[in-house]
Amino acid sequence: MSLDEWLGVGIPEDVVEKAIEWVARLDGTELPETERAEFFTWLDEAPEHQWAYEEISEAWSKLHGLREVADVLHRSQVVHFPNQTARTSSIATPELSSFDLYSVLSWSALALVAAGLFAGITG
């Protein structure tokens, strides 16, 4: 693993950053025809574009090798998963039953009455 050969060393920074954007965009994605044409035009513009794309793409591909050390890669605990149930259907979605709904409405009505009484007393 020679990391420094995959980093676009000696290539202008803006070119490498553009190559990174293309690698991310192309990763597992079928591009629309116009965007594909745009990519190939950019690629063909200069040797540095070609090198940067090849090297970043190679680095991106080799990151798969880190799977064997997945246990030392930290998973963030702060990310919410609002649509997790869309993927893990075995986990039941908490839903309000008719009984729960009745309870919520009852408690809401009670709270309104109490608030009205309180307003009456203080007024």
């Binding site: 693993m1 000696g10 290539i11 990763d27 200069a46 040797p47 070609q50 880190l66 930290h74």
Partner: protein
């Protein structure tokens, strides 16, 4: 190119067997893109070395003219030149590093190279892990979902309630940050890298 394109026998290969049309195509390619290639490598090598690298790359392509697809010639030539330039820079650094640390008579060239590669491999992995662990939380998770867990972009988007476009942005941002971190880590220890002498952005 006159010397290069002369009908000579190199590496046991008789150059006269190559299709004259292919030779002509390559000659035109070289004359059209040579200056562009020189400009692209100027940041890595001194002019004299640069000329040598382009000459060697041209020769290598020329030797394989009969097996390279015409449309791939330019790519192959550019890549060969870049690899040769990288090899030169790397070789300079290996020699510099090991000649300072080890008695030249104790290890032969191959052993020195193997030792260097072993060290680099361990070091590279540790740097990469560090780089990923330092990514911002959401960006890191998107990165790991894609590269370690192998989820598709659409699956990641569904999982996190974001668009595929945002997934792309996280991956782009993650790669840029990782690259910058690795460059800084390697250049801090530039004895082991050909980054010595390059400015890290």
């Amino acid at each position: 190119m006159g010397k290069l394109l002369a009908d000579i026998t190199l590496g046991g290969k008789n150059m006269t067997t190559i299709d004259p049309l292919r030779k002509l195509q390559f000659e035109e390619l070289v004359s059209r893109y040579r200056n562009q290639l020189i400009g692209a490598l100027a940041n890595m090598l001194e002019r004299a070395e640069l000329e040598e690298v382009i000459q060697e790359a041209s020769l290598r392509v020329y030797l394989h003219l009969d097996t390279i697809e015409p449309q791939a010639l330019k790519t192959y030539w550019f890549r060969t030149a870049r690899n040769l330039a990288i090899t030169r820079k790397r070789h300079e650094q290996v020699i510099k590093h090991f000649s300072a640390d080890l008695n030249e008579t104790m290890l032969d060239q191959q052993a020195r190279t193997d030792l260097g590669l072993l060290y680099e491999e361990r070091e590279a992995r540790a740097i990469l892990i560090d780089a990923i662990n330092k990514l911002p939380p959401v960006c890191r998770n998107v990165f790991l979902f894609r590269k370690i867990d192998g989820y598709s972009k659409q699956e990641i988007a569904d999982l996190l309630g974001i668009s595929v476009h945002t997934v792309d942005n996280h991956l782009t941002h993650g790669m840029k940050l990782c690259r910058r971190y690795v460059l800084e880590a390697l250049s801090a220890n530039a004895d082991h890298s050909f980054l010595d002498g390059f400015e890290v952005a």
